[in-house]
């Protein structure tokens, strides 16, 4: 596996605040690598140090084996950047912007088909500032992809997008990854990390607190799955406990809650109920999520910072 990005002990302070505090990781070529953490965790500072837009105070960063602070333009040619808060000059049309940015690179892609893939067909003649927030966000994603980059940086990719547009953008990003482009993104949406990223780094207070695949991170928690339901009739607790994988059966607020390992025990539990002619009502299942991993590792919730 070839390395696209390699960071060792990267740090960046603002006054007394350690925005990035000794971070080391590698991003492999061809993967979607995500950094997830609450707002203010240091994700943007870190991604901008890797992009070469911000000077780090210490540590080493290599992109394609080059230091982004010294070989800035060589790296720029091969990368695409979507900034968290971006703008274009006033009174510039979407098509003009893409055509212009394409001219900045030696290699460029057909920006019209790029617009179509991002659901912006028919917007080429619109002024960027007159687009909706979601459309504008997609224009900036298009600008990041206009040079058919080998590596693309996406800082808060789907902020401001409605759920439907978000799903569409995820498809585009997966397509790009499947085409061989490495993707390095930041997000504070747990679902985005879970559904899009091949590997995820959990970031908090300028440090990486865990780094693995999403299933790997969840498995590392050792947390159990659970199912719960209401039942008209006596609960066959002993027989439910005997189901393979079940660790605990309890009754909470009138609901039966069954904890267990693996994905098979709910099926076994439902079979036990069926044998007794009982039907589980208002059935819910719950698997541990990245949110639980983050909470377990940091004592904080991912969404805490979201209001700010």
């Amino acid at each position: 596996m070839t390395t696209a990005i390699s960071c060792a002990n990267v740090s960046k302070r603002y006054g007394d605040v350690r925005a990035v505090d000794g971070v080391s990781f590698e991003v492999h070529e061809g993967e979607i690598f995500g950094m997830i953490g609450p707002n203010g965790a240091g994700k943007t500072t870190l991604i901008e140090c890797v992009e070469g837009l911000r000077e780090r105070d210490g540590g080493t960063v290599e992109v394609f084996g080059m230091d982004p602070e010294r070989h800035t333009r060589a790296i720029r040619e091969r990368t695409g950047i979507q900034l968290q808060s971006a703008a274009l000059p006033q009174r510039i049309r979407v098509g003009e912007a893409l055509d212009l940015f394409a001219a900045f690179y030696r290699r460029s892609t057909d920006w019209r088909s790029l617009l179509a893939r991002l659901g912006l067909e028919g917007k080429a003649r619109s002024y960027v500032e007159r687009l909706s927030g979601g459309e504008r966000q997609r224009v900036f994603i298009a600008l990041a992809l206009v040079n058919a980059p080998e590596l693309v940086f996406l800082d808060e990719l789907t902020t401001g997008l409605d759920p439907q547009a978000r799903l569409a953008i995820w498809d585009v990003i997966r397509d790009i990854r499947d085409g061989g482009t490495t993707v390095f993104l930041t997000t504070h949406f747990m679902e985005e990390a879970e559904r899009l990223c091949d590997r995820v780094a959990l970031v908090d207070h300028g440090r990486i607190v865990a780094l693995d695949t999403v299933p790997g991170l969840i498995a590392s928690l050792g947390a159990e799955n659970s199912m719960s339901f209401t039942l008209d009739g006596a609960v066959p607790a002993e027989r439910l406990k005997a189901v393979d994988g079940v660790t605990k059966v309890e009754q909470v607020d009138g609901r039966v809650v069954i904890h267990g390992n693996g994905a098979r025990f709910p099926h076994g539990a439902l079979s036990v109920l069926a044998e007794d002619g009982l039907w589980a009502q208002d059935l819910r299942t719950r698997q541990p999520t990245l949110e639980d991993v983050f909470l377990a590792l940091t004592g904080r919730e991912l969404r805490e910072g979201e209001a700010g």
Partner: protein
Amino acid sequence: MTAVGKLVAVQARRTLREPAAAFFMVAFAPLFALLMGLVFGNEPQAEFGDRGYIDANLASFPAIVLAIVSFVLVPIDIVSQRESGALRRFRATPLRPVGYIAADVLVRFAISLLSIAAMFALGMLVFGARPAGDLASVLLAAVLGVLAFLAVGYALAAVMPSQGTAQAFGNVLVYPLIILSGAAVPTAVLPEGVRQVAQFSPLTQLVELLRGLWAGQPWAENWVPLVVLLGVLGAATAVAARFFRWE
């Protein structure tokens, strides 16, 4: 087309799409000359040394446009692009900073010069104004004026902390400078003390140079304004280069 060439085209189009900027950069100078000509005519008058109003004053009008462009329009446009993050977006590409600046300067230079040329053409064709001196020298001085005052605009953009400050600073400064320069009101009507202070304004020096060359004086007689404008160009370029920020 090269990156800088495309950038020139886009910057020109977006500048001309901005109604206020387009008016001041392109149409203001010719319209001002037209208005003044219609109001005052160009009949010979004793107070202008037996020359007409337009003959006596046309050469100084470019200073008014350049003051507005350099003290108000350029700083506000650049600072607002810096505040919005537009400049930063360009930085995230392989485009060299000097390429961006070159395109930006070229567009504003060309538009300003075109406007000044149109103004001279209008004054000469409509009102029959004629330079006593060499028209090419006058235009050359106008070129120097455009360069020096565009540099002032970029220097102001570099040091202004926010769009609001740039706006306030520019608007407070620009009108006194125009009045002191003698481009709008003859310096003869100003009190002696004020007239002496006015000599320290580079805009006044530009007016003196343009009027002098238009009136047929040789460059040698105008070495003071020439040195002042070259000095302003050098100093403002140095300030802009030293303090220009992308974010």
